[in-house]
Symmetry: C2
Amino acid sequence: MKKLLGLLLIVILGISFCFGQTVTDPPDSQPAASNVRGARYPRITSDLRAIFQVKAPDAQKVQLQMGKVFDMVKGENGIWTYTTEPLVPGFHYYFLIIDGVTVSDPASESFFGWGKMSSGIEVPESGVSYYSLKNVPHGDVRQKWYFSSVTQAWRRCFVYCPPDYNNNLNKKYPVLYLQHGSGEDERGWSVQGKADIIMDNLIAEGKAVPMIIVMDQGYAIKHGAPAPVPGQQPAGPSAFEEVVIKDIIPFIDSNFRTLSDRDHRAMAGLSMGGMQTIQITMSNLDKFSHIGGFSGAGRFSGAGLDVNKDYNGVMADAAAFNKKVKLLWIGIGTAEPQNMYKAVNGFHLALTTAGIKHVYYESPGTDHEWLTWRRSLNEFAPLLFR
Amino acid sequence: MKKLLGLLLIVILGISFCFGQTVTDPPDSQPAASNVRGARYPRITSDLRAIFQVKAPDAQKVQLQMGKVFDMVKGENGIWTYTTEPLVPGFHYYFLIIDGVTVSDPASESFFGWGKMSSGIEVPESGVSYYSLKNVPHGDVRQKWYFSSVTQAWRRCFVYCPPDYNNNLNKKYPVLYLQHGSGEDERGWSVQGKADIIMDNLIAEGKAVPMIIVMDQGYAIKHGAPAPVPGQQPAGPSAFEEVVIKDIIPFIDSNFRTLSDRDHRAMAGLSMGGMQTIQITMSNLDKFSHIGGFSGAGRFSGAGLDVNKDYNGVMADAAAFNKKVKLLWIGIGTAEPQNMYKAVNGFHLALTTAGIKHVYYESPGTDHEWLTWRRSLNEFAPLLFR
């Protein structure tokens, strides 16, 4: 009977190995790390081209959407293929388009981005290991449910606890509230961003202070507010700021061993999350001392910063602001769309003109994508709570 | 500038609301709870039919795969629709087939099942709340990385810690190792299974002892063993048993406050995970005292159980076995495929004939699906560690 069981297990285990065909794979290439277990495609070549493959004998047109849309080419056995130009390392969202229908690739892990479960491809970065799993003490990422007084609904957050959190039971920790971008959610920073791995590595090297990181969802509709009409813009402003102040911070401070004064509380975010961060922290400087905007500080409108009026004038007295805010950190990728680059760089220039102390970082060669934000976290976190 | 920021946020927030069209939704229906944020389809009617919708003006054929394959019907504006018969409540995997290509639905959350990121639909169960979020103390689910000595690779597990784990810092807890089924992974029990919510509710009602639950991945290839050839069966047996004994249990016992004797260690699993559980626990009765097989105890081969030979004869002396094993629990859904039902029910009958004490449970009207396993956990967990 053991044999029967063994055979059956082998058959069942086979499910995970049935992607693609038993043809020869292109030499000098390997499956992307972001593939599901056992999937041979997409593959990455040694010069960082990605090869995509879809079996679709009956489809009229199969396309790859990754930034732009590329037509895949139909070959033998109805297998469509596309090989990209060499890619920038890091994480890129992508979709397949099957006869005009945009879908995610069953061979890829799914990542919540663009408001839906997207495919993603991880392109390896040679000589860089700050976001690689290493033999160092590891913290954990905890899924927590809490009831929001503002939305009158259950919400979920993920909380990174540093490696020594479970050993130093009398120690209290500073907290970074870290927000995702538009169309993403509370999973973004730990899944696409590898925030836990980045922090484990920084802490192991003594480069960052052990801290708690709270990753929540930047969307919230106040209870009683009109529900958004599908296909239309939401009727009212997001209630996220209220959720942060009234729900999330009190929940975290009462459920984790936090240092709960403003000196030990930071907020940062990427893109939309960066804009939310600036908005929320500037309105609540009694609660936050360290502030980070990754590809989304200020706004993308291009209008100038008026330090006397904007953010209720909290920057009007630069000396007072500089004393109060321990860290204001602004970052942008040099390959981001020009309007975004100009907005963030312009914010940096305006802050400089106004005498507002801040750190400005440019991520070389990266777009409005997760590698910019992994780098941003890796640069930002070491400066916190010093 | 605040206005500009507000407007921009509204535009960005709009991404999550752009699914579907501004047409009238069918009355007496609501979006499935398993949809991504803001998606109007699939919808569930009050008599539990599911309505699927895909915009695909250029596709020749659009189908729904949910158990069987159903042809969707093309209507105005290239929108394809399909309304099911009333569905059994619980969680059902499904896929869309666009001109012959099986893909997941961008409007649904993704769930790792069938060896890929699948779509899933949650059909509400009237009058039942044991897997609903309630206002009770909540534990958490922790993502942990560990390095396996057996596979020589990093592995990930999820660990449920009960609500009082962070308050009773001197308390130690019993541990249940809980496995997913074939084609699934370590995410299955907390995402599809809602194991954390079930446990929070059971513990709040005093029906289950607070316990730690470890959810790991039931696939493992021993370091140095030939890598599986894609499209073929793996060359050797799974090394999962070795990983459980040599890696997972020692990791959990040294990183969590566990009661580490056999009396306080249980293992259970569903389908393939149930078969693995029986195999592993019977070979390691010095380590496990409580055993559960959900839709997968014994094997699906139909061959009779020989208590004198099977499992190295551990059941040959029924009295000794009954004294040693504190709980042997077997469950199956009455609507599961006949071969599965017969195998598990046959195992139950054979155990009865052999005088082996066990609990046998049938989930009324449910198939080889997650509702059977949510119910199984809800029945099984209260019997543990008493």
